[in-house]
């Protein structure tokens, strides 16, 4: 009997069911677990109190990122510099102690491999196609770019995975987001994902796992795909997936933690069976035409508040839905914007190039191409925070750090930084930031901070002009 055609999601799910309960929930095996300092201390504490151990320590990898300052970590003599915020220092210290106690691999803040957990996983080859991967962080969806079923979990679930290497889950519905055509000049993966969220809305993917398909997605590098899958959660989805292909395999081959030799060949053979079968059915399908995607950015305090850079601040009255109208009014008051203002006339005081959405080498290259031989505008503070120490090294080998520094950008140590303002990098109240991160929520980059989400090239364009700008005019 011919099998019903399956989606990528269904194949990965089926390969990880340990047990199925009568009510349809499944005990799902977790192949990969990433741990950082903020959501793990109480999970380890729970294990300790109950006298439990970690079932498979080798399937977990820990790295600090959220709290770490992005200023130098060692002095000129190579001596470790102290972390001034005592609570951050305590969380970072707890991660070091907990991973040592439970036998989990830990990448220290001073290691070149340190970085944002969602940059480190793919970069080390820890993230693999067809695996289930979790982390106590909502942007875990990023790893779906390599064809891993990856999603964020809470602290109790972190403890559950540490102790049992499983999670009790209900299956999600599936949604295909297909982007076909050719991207215009100056249009990047970030613009694509902003266009998608603008289309489906911040709750559009609720209850679904999105699979991104189409010629545009196929044509993206793994870096670009990571940017897209990263923001699946901003479209409300549980996870985002991109089918593994030759681009994925070429990216992974030879990475420190990727399979080697015969293992590699067997893995690739299995990975090739994963893409959705022809005729597989999704619960929902959305299609976008690449030709209609401009360099985009957000105007409000929800990631669905997307406009092209050539657009204007919308009039709240233009929204049909009364609750959306009200939300838009509140957003504009918070953002300090007037309806009808051209986005290109909006002045900014801060630029943040970084975060797990856009801090990989390609992102830095795109930003540096715009910054080259230009100067950061007066009154603008611009930060470049590489996603990992290895990205930083690579950028320095290519001379990108000099391009940024000569233009007047600050070149920082890797970490989450101004994405969530948990470390000292914050946007002051009432000031405006062009940011390559993923959330423009009220207060996300600091209390009262105003955030516009955009691509690295657009962020660099804003830095050198002092206002939100169309990068195509600088290319």
């Amino acid at each position: 009997m011919a099998q019903r055609p399956q989606t990528l999601y269904e194949k990965i799910w089926a390969a990880h069911v340990v047990e199925r309960r009568p009510d349809g929930t499944c005990l799902i095996y977790i192949d990969r677990h990433l741990v950082h300092e903020v959501t793990s201390p109480q999970a380890f504490e729970g294990l300790r109190v109950a006298g439990r151990s970690v079932r498979r320590p080798e399937l977990t990898l820990a790295v600090p990122d959220h709290n770490l300052p992005t200023t130098p970590r060692v002095d000129a003599a190579g001596k470790l510099l102290p972390i001034t915020d005592p609570e951050s220092a305590q969380q970072l210290d707890a991660l070091r102690r907990n991973t040592a106690e439970f036998g989990i691999d830990y990448i220290d803040a001073t290691a070149a491999a340190q970085g944002i957990v969602h940059v480190v996983g793919p970069e080390q080859g820890f993230t693999l196609p067809g695996t289930t991967l979790v982390c106590g962080d909502s942007h875990t969806s990023a790893h779906g770019a390599l064809g891993a079923l990856a999603f964020g979990i809470g602290t109790s679930e972190v403890e559950h995975v540490l102790a049992t290497q499983t999670l009790l889950l209900s299956p999600s519905r599936t949604m295909e987001v297909r982007v076909d055509g050719t991207l215009g000049h100056g249009v990047s993966a970030k613009d694509v994902v902003l266009a998608i969220i603008g289309r489906i809305g911040a709750a559009g993917g609720t209850g679904h796992v999105i699979e991104f398909t189409g010629s545009v997605i196929r044509g993206l590098s793994v870096e670009g795909r990571l940017t897209i899958a990263n923001m699946s959660i901003e479209g409300g989805a549980r996870a985002g997936l991109i089918a593994p292909d030759e681009t994925t395999f070429a990216y992974l081959k030879g990475r420190p933690m990727a399979p080697k030799g015969a293992d590699w060949d067997r893995a690739v053979a299995w990975w090739r069976t994963l893409p959705s079968d022809p005729g597989a059915v999704y619960d929902k399908v959305v299609t976008l035409d690449a030709a209609e995607i401009a360099p985009n950015l957000t105007w409000g305090t929800s990631p669905e508040d997307v406009v092209p850079i050539t657009g204007v601040v919308p009039d709240p009255d233009s929204f049909a839905d009364p609750s959306k109208r009200e939300a838009a009014r509140k957003s504009l008051a918070y953002m300090g914007l007037e309806p009808g203002t051209a986005m290109r006339d909006v002045a900014i005081q801060h630029v943040f190039i970084g975060s797990c959405t856009n801090s990989r080498i390609e992102d830095l290259r795109a930003a540096a191409a715009v910054a080259r031989d230009r100067k950061v505008a007066d009154g603008v503070r611009a930060l470049v925070v590489p996603g990992s120490g290895l990205v930083k090294r690579q950028a320095e080998a290519e001379g990108l750090d000099r391009v940024f520094v000569e233009a007047g950008f600050e070149w920082r140590e890797p970490g989450c930084s101004m994405c969530l303002a948990m470390n000292p990098d914050k946007v002051p109240a009432g000031e405006r930031c062009a940011s390559t991160s993923n959330r423009n929520f009220v207060g996300r980059q600091g209390p009262g901070a105003r955030t516009h989400l955009l691509s690295p090239a657009m962020a660099a364009a804003a830095a050198v002009t002092g206002r939100l700008s169309d990068v195509r005019e600088l290319m």
Binding site: V38, G78, S156, Q165
Partner: protein, 206 residues
């Protein structure tokens, strides 16, 4: 987790609606590394007001909290449940709860009791000077005045609470099934387990 069969004692007759997780535990408490001690931060902004219910000696150490609609809305932070547990609360009675909060409450041995508004109003009145009893055996909330309100709980979660089973403990009891899955994985997808452990050359220092 300690088994919960009955929760009996004084109750904070609060009744406030739409209490979000920021009110239960303000964000600046999120940098802690333990679950314990968060009770000190619970309802910090409410406690800053003189004459608040949480500092009223009449209700000191009450194991029950009576609240209004939509208790625990806002973020998914589990710290909210930890803070309540740490201040000794074992049951919260309200007309409705946010889904995420009630999931977190169960995981931390707190019974979220949903009762209709008129029952909650009656309990708010009685709790001013009388104890209240939440009984998981009979699924009732009773008072010394012979009030008797029945409530419902997901059977699986009720069983976990009554037997002190936490989800980790329950899954650990499925060890044989997990072991069998791992055995099959070793044979079918050996590369999942065979990753390189970190070594100095994998992770060079600065």
């Amino acid at each position: 987790m300690n088994p919960v069969t009955t929760v009996s004692g004084t109750a904070y007759p609060w009744g406030a609606k739409n209490i979000d997780t920021d009110v239960i535990i303000p964000a600046h408490w999120l940098k802690t590394i333990t679950r314990a001690g968060l009770g000190r931060g619970a309802f910090e902004t409410v406690r800053a007001q003189p004459g608040n219910i949480f500092d009223d000696p009449a209700y000191a150490g009450a194991p029950i909290l009576i609240a209004g609609d939509n208790f625990g809305c806002g973020s998914s932070r589990e710290h909210a449940a930890w803070a309540l547990a740490d201040m000794g609360i074992k049951a919260v009675i309200a007309p409705s709860f946010s889904d995420i909060f009630s999931g977190n409450a169960f995981k931390n041995g707190i019974v979220p009791v949903v009762l209709p508004q008129d029952a909650v109003d009656r309990l708010l009145d009685v709790a001013k000077d009388q104890p209240i009893t939440v009984d998981l055996e009979t699924m009732t909330v009773t008072t010394p005045y012979q009030d008797r309100f029945t409530f419902a709980l997901d059977p699986f979660r009720r069983e976990c609470l009554m037997n002190g089973l936490d989800e980790v403990g329950l899954t650990l009891a499925r060890d044989a099934a997990i072991g069998a899955f791992e055995h099959a994985m070793t044979a079918g997808r050996p590369w999942v387990e065979g990753r390189a452990r970190l070594t100095a050359d994998v992770v060079p220092t600065i």
